[in-house]
Amino acid sequence: MPYLGSEDVVKELKKALCNPHIQADRLRYRNVIQRVIRHMTQGLDMSCVFMEMVKASATVDIVQKKLVYLYMCTYAPLKPDLALLAINTLCKDCSDPNPMVRGLALRSMCSLRMPGVQEYIQQPILNGLRDKASYVRRVAVLGCAKMHNLHGDSEVDGALVNELYSLLRDQDPIVVVNCLRSLEEILKYEGGVVINKPIAHHLLNRMSKLDQWGQAEVLNYLLRYQPHSEEELFDILNLLDSFLKSSSPGVVTGATKLFLILAKKFPHVQTDVLVRVKGPLLAACSSESRELCFVALCHVRQILHSLPGHFSSHYKKFFCSYWEPHYIKLQKVEVLCELVNDENVQQVLEELQGYCTDVSIDFAQAAIFAIGGIARTYTDQCVQILTELLGLRQEHITTVVLQTFRDLVWLCPQCTEAVCQALLSCEENIQDSEGKQALIWLLGVHGERIPNAPYVLEDFVESVKSETFPAVKMELLTALLRLFLSRPAECQDMLGRLLYYCIEEEKDMAVRDRGLFYYRLLLLGIDEVKQILCSPKSDPSLGLLEDQPERPVNSWASDFNTLVPVYGKAHWATIFKRQGTEQCGPELPRTASFAPSGHLISEENKERVQELPDTEALMLIPNCQLTAEYFEKTWLSLKVAHQQVLPWQGEVHPDTLQMALQVVNIQTIAMSRVGARPWKAYLSAQDATGCLFLTELLLEPKNSEMQISVKQSETRTEILSSFVSVLETVIGTIGNMKS
């Protein structure tokens, strides 16, 4: 970023650099060069003094040399012809008796990053690889990678690679680690450095000689080694055991990941390791560095997804302190929400209750939502707390509490009574759209239990003209019509007024259409309206879908100790998509865990699912088992009865989908692996009359849509449409959950 006056500065520095008096005085000369570097850091273009700086490189003062080389590495791509002038000095330095000078010159020469430099650096690098000073060898080994990347093509120098493989046996531990890094870069397109049995064992034996950075990195390379026998595997685990106790969090998590991956067939070993790593992770969670603390919390959440009770006894560690930054507090609230159990629920709720009145509105609302999450298991206590919060009459609190209530009533019908009690007179405190919608919905659906519901809605109808959110108006229409069905006398008049307003005066088309629709519906008679509007008022089975099932450890083991848990899986997926093919290979999720179907829902829930009539006519029978052969035969013999396309973003989680379908008694016959393109699934269902529904799901990632084709054994359109709507709901829910 050039700014005014920069030209003067450059001119003045140039003059100073040429001044023989300054050149004679070592300290003054060095000072001028330092000023050049400082301006360079600030973003000034200092490339004009390149010539003078090249001259300054011919010196015995090693500090000055370092500064000049730093300058040259930055501007060499801009002035390649001038930089070639410096090569001579650099080459001379490469054979200096002082290893420090040799290393410095070689490192700088390899970092010049300009075309045509390869021919000059090849020989010094080869000499450097056989240098007797380990410092020079370290530099030379990485220089190989730099040289290879400068070439810009994927041609691999076989002799060099062999030399690097043999240098893995070097005395100096840093040379060994640098060799791995260098080979990894050179062989990037061939899958990276190969870790075979001798190399793996050699590395394992050298582990204790490495420093913490080397250990963490070698542990990462060892991930790709597959032990040949069980015995060897446990030998490796025993050898690495001490690294689980390391004082460096990077090494501990690196070792944990290696354990989790190597022991993927031994769940008890995995659980054991996660118990061992509890201490270090908790220490990182309360570490002084808030960034480390945040990353550790993200990993704790990851572990909690598989082992819900894992950190329950340490719940106090996740209480927020007032000085912590916002992002840590939010993570801690999430963790608290996930580790709650019978013993600590009282304390956790008390703590969360304290957060609900926090200064930060975001944090307060997050705490209220967290209480709402816990309420699915511990309903009574939570509803009581939420009711108390309503008493504060604070707008930002009331609106979130109402939204929580709405979701809660839908999932846990047993708390409806308490919620209706709490709802009395809280309407005057809400201004935002979401909160209003939640309140209106609650009043509409459960209006018959709230004595003053019509009067509250009447206030909304009165002020509908000044209402700014169309969504609120739509909600109001539906709610009032619903309430009209249960309490016609009190609502008839205002329903008329509202319909009149919506049809005659409303400018928003969607609201107007909705008004017209309801008006015409009412013309058909009250029975028709009832049939259409009286849908179930709650759906506990949805809770199953929303609560993520316990994920097996193997499903995230490969993401452990990476950036994935830090970003969150969903966010990572968008980044990954944007990065495109750049990160192929090992980054791809390689999990192909297929939980066997069945036993995912308890018997009790299955019954409840049946009690709830999804639609009047359709009744799918549970446990309809078809063999794959029979499915295939039937599929081929039938014609497609219905075809439809639904929007869909990102990957499919087969487990979730399979379970969700199971809830509505649709069985999965076959599914593609995660990440397969195109992704396919075959489903079957049978209704009470024996009519078979065969379905194919086809996901084309590039169109981001899911194509559904349904075949039917008997042609009955009305139950076909209800079957399709069931399917649509399930897929829509799963899709929304992910996004």
Partner: protein
Amino acid sequence: MISQFFILSSKGDPLIYKDFRGDSGGLDVAELFYRKLTGLSGDESPVVMFQDDRHFIHIRHSGLYLVATTSENVSPFSLLELLSRLATLLGDYCGSLSEGTISRNVALVYELLDEVLDYGYVQTTSTEMLRNFIQTEAVVSKPFSLFDLSSVGLFGAETQQSKVAPSSAASRPVLSSRSDQSQKNEVFLDVVERLSVLIASDGSPLKVDVQGELRLKSFLPSGSEMRIGLTEEFCVGKSELRGYGPGIRVDEVSFHSSVNLDEFESHRILRLQPHQGELTVMRYQLSDDLPSPLPFRLFPSVQWDRGSGRLQVYLKLRCDLPPKSQAVNIRLHLPLPRGVVRWTFPAYQDPPATGLPPQPLCWGWALQASPLNSPGTHAPASRFASLGWLSGPVATPTPTSGYATLATARPMSFGSEAPQTRTWQQRKKASKWEEDNIFFLGVLAYGSGCRQRTPES
């Protein structure tokens, strides 16, 4: 693997910028980072951010941003650890880490980075190995410090402070030996404790959490063995009982990996051979019942006059530190209830402060002086170095919002900085380190931060 590393000042100016792999693509990466950071929405975390095909991972240290960028899915633990280590290293070599020291020592920092990272890969971070390669000497400026003055007592009398080194004594570079022949063989051992206390309306502590650590800064020649003796009554865990009295108890304790614990069980002695520079020797945690009283006690009283809508908050803060210690930089924040239209602060300020509610609905007051001559002192300084009592703002809630606004009053917080006493020992430079240096120390309550919940009315 790091692509770029840079240090930004708190205002976003680049102080240091190094491109290790030349893949910045001509972008001003540092500016990109700062723009992204300042434009984050409330629920996004700034620690790891993604922009333009690169991940930005940063730590904040002493008001500076130390940022690394990478395009690979690296281990966040290792990278954050590396950034912290770099911060410590820079602090060791430059004396202390701040915007001033970094910009004075640009050449040294670049030299250090050059040796620590090559092509974005860590080479070594050990102070010992690095000192062979670092040629630049740190530029240290001696800033004017009030602590230097405070060591001079009234009429030249010896004060408590003159017996201990000034707090800035430890903030000097480890590598000054070349120029400064009179280099002292010094060791500084700090006990840093962080208290988090939740106090009920009657003044009794509801929740107490102490996190402490022993920080060692050594200027001794490397390889010299050091023995740190803790008091023998030091107990770990709830059940252990040592000594006769209540002793000193912590719940959990962890040590740096270089600490030899052979004599810890029997004599509570930590043996270590510290490298030069800073090192956290021991961390400990303590929660719930404290063996000793809190350094501060708070006596709140809230009066609510329904008729006039006036709320009077009296806060009495009492400091129970022993007389030889002092609390500095005490800050007190009192979040005001919503709906406050006016507040006055009559006590001991001339003229009484008054005003409209400040924007974040929070009222803060910093006591800038040591307790003995604090402007807030009510009574003559007692043996307890009492802070006196200060009376909080008189807030007037709007009559319409009524009673319920009170219940949303948020926790009040106050914090103070550590009394800057350091335990240090000086020895003549010996060719062979024969004598054992044993420092006896009790765990003393040191920095503190408390928060208090205003009573539910």
